[in-house]
């Protein structure tokens, strides 16, 4: 499977990546949803961030989670990853506790969290995605990696069209190239689920198009959940959308219902197909006008 052709500086001069055949891990999922949140609430000290959240993500979904800053998007991702424990409610990922299925979940955190200047090669960044054992002393083989692990890193880099730059220092790459490497780092453990937290921050417009082409290709074989402000770039790729602003409303299709829009902006009378929403947002960005007409 190949992403569609386009002009992208980070892909220029290269063939498009070959994405592996679907690996939804049906045996692991056993017909259950990939993600199942039921009545989940979470608070930082006394500030409630998520309240009675229900979310179901099926195998093959490409779900975009949108919402205002401070609405609980990143907290939601961390709960799905098992990095935060909910105050109440249940979380099942691939039919199990999130911590039990860590190796099957790939995570691409916000770009801004990465140390900007760090002596590490592209290949070594990808190798960091290999899972370690659970115990404090389960560090694996020191100090380096086996030949098979190194080859797997190169193969994974090839999937995101970055194998040529495997020996380059990570901080010498462009924003778009860095993000592709971070995607490869998440892919090296053969995940059944990929979680993205603001994947397009610090990437130029062409780099965004290139990245979403890659995600679009990946979504044919891996379930993807993406938290993002950037619906404009993602709009043509996602299969369902959810809105979170302390509460969460999910739509199985690509339509933003009045209740979803109300959760973000206040009262709305009519539903809004996602494409129309994007169109409206684009026109606002172009004209610099108010957003209340959506």
């Amino acid at each position: 499977m190949h992403p569609p052709d386009h002009s992208c500086p980070s892909c220029a001069g290269h063939d498009h990546p070959t994405i592996p055949e679907p690996r939804f891990r049906s045996g692991l999922i056993s017909g259950r949803p990939v993600i199942e949140l039921s009545g989940v609430s979470f608070a930082y000290d006394s500030r409630e961030v998520l309240s009675d959240v229900n979310l179901t993500v099926s195998a093959g979904d490409f779900l975009a989670v949108i919402g205002p800053n401070g609405g609980g998007k990143t907290t939601l991702v961390k709960i799905i990853l098992g990095l935060l424990a909910p105050g109440s409610g249940t979380v099942r990922v691939l039919g199990a506790d999130p911590l039990a299925v860590r190796p099957a979940v790939g995570y691409v955190p916000q770009h801004a969290l990465i140390q900007p200047s760090f002596p590490v090669t592209v290949r070594d960044v990808v190798l960091l995605g290999l899972r370690r054992g659970g115990g404090f002393f389960s560090t694996g083989r020191w100090p380096g990696y086996s030949a098979a692990e190194k080859q797997k890193a190169l193969d994974t880099l090839d999937m995101v069209d970055m194998a040529d730059l495997a020996g380059r220092r990570f901080d010498a790459l462009s924003g778009g190239q860095k993000q592709r490497v971070l995607v490869a780092r998440a892919l090296i453990s053969d995940p059944a689920l990929l979680l993205f937290d603001e994947p397009t921050s610090n990437i130029d417009p062409q780099g965004k198009v290139c990245l979403f082409d890659l995600l679009s290709a990946l979504s044919a074989s891996i379930t993807i959940v993406m938290v993002s402000h950037d619906l404009i770039s993602a709009s043509t790729r996602i299969t369902s959308v959810a809105v979170v602003n302390t509460r969460l409303i999910q739509n199985r299709g690509r339509e933003l219902t009045p209740t979803m829009l109300e959760l973000i902006y206040g009262t709305h009378d009519a539903s809004c197909p996602l494409d129309e929403y994007i169109k409206g947002m684009s026109s606002i960005f172009t004209a610099g006008g108010p957003r209340s007409h959506i």
């Binding site: 990853l81 990095l83 860590r102 979940v105 995570y107 955190p109 916000q110 969290l113 990465i114 140390q115 200047s117 760090f118 002596p119 590490v120 090669t121 070594d124 960044v125 960091l128 995605g129 290999l130 899972r131 370690r132 054992g133 659970g134 404090f136 560090t139 694996g140 020191w142 100090p143 020996g167 220092r169 780092r185 453990s189």
Partner: protein, 269 residues
């Protein structure tokens, strides 16, 4: 040269420089890539409380200072983990409190006549053989720990959030990193003094970072650079009869400026 090596205090100074360089190269690299230079400075100054405590209680300085500083470093680690916006305040408090405690305990020590300057600015030429052995043990401990958890230290230093998602015990390793920093600081106080220790923890790794593509190579090059600076500083100190700790730092600073300039020229070429 043979005359110099014939003197026991000079042989001890060279050994102390070598052992301190190893610790500085390895732990300094972790300090630099994790942007914890200020915290390392806090640990160094808090160590003075341990020195004061050792004199007040009549205990061996090095082990007592190690114990005291490790506890202070763990408090800093607990107070700062996941709360970067408040870590500088906590470090600032412990920094000043440790120094104050050290000064007060020195004042209260009966018959106190210790040369305060030797702890503030180092006395590499006065390191006894017993301290060399203790430094050797500390180096072995530092090296073993860092090599065993190298991949985990690399992962948490590069991207702590992702490291947590892959099962790296980041909180424990973060605390361990502060403990190792404390141990290193105590070692280097012998060489450069607690005021100048930050330079030796920072300059060689920063220089190494300019020329390396991996944390392990950065640690190796920083160790080598640190050793060169120690030797050059000692030579400078010997020839001009000036303070050895300050001479070492002066050589390190000059070395970094030259390396940085060469790097810039090389990139332009």
């Amino acid at each position: 040269m043979m005359d110099v090596l014939g003197m026991e205090f000079m042989r001890n100074a060279l050994l102390a420089g070598l052992l301190a360089s190893l610790a500085c190269g390895v732990i300094g690299s972790l300090v630099v890539v994790n942007r914890q230079v200020f915290m390392a400075g806090g640990v160094a100054h808090t160590a003075y409380g341990g020195v004061g405590l050792a004199f007040y209680l009549g205990l061996p300085v090095l082990p007592c200072a190690v114990g005291f500083t490790v506890v202070a470093a763990l408090i800093m680690a607990m107070a700062s983990f996941g709360r970067a916006e408040r870590s500088d305040s906590v470090v600032g408090i412990l920094w000043a409190a440790g120094m104050a405690m050290g000064i007060i305990l020195m004042d209260l020590t009966p018959g106190y006549n210790v040369d305060l300057m030797s702890y503030l600015f180092g006395s590499i030429l006065a390191v006894p053989k017993s301290d060399i052995l203790f430094m050797l043990v500390l180096d072995a401990f530092i090296l073993s720990v860092v090599l065993f958890w190298y991949k985990d230290f690399l992962s948490l230093s590069f991207d702590m959030e992702f490291a947590r998602s892959t099962g790296v015990p980041v909180r424990l390793l973060y605390a361990l990193m502060q403990v190792l920093t404390a141990v290193t600081v105590i070692m280097v106080i012998q060489v450069a003094g607690l005021i100048l220790v930050i330079a030796l923890l920072t300059i060689p790794p920063m220089l190494a970072e300019l020329f390396t593509k991996s944390l392990l190579k950065m640690m190796a090059l920083a160790t080598l650079a640190s050793l060169v600076f120690c030797l050059a500083g000692l030579a400078l100190s010997y020839h001009f009869d000036i303070t050895s700790g300050a001479s070492i730092i002066a050589m390190a600073t000059a070395g970094y400026v030259v390396a940085w300039g060469l790097r810039r020229l090389w990139r332009r070429a």
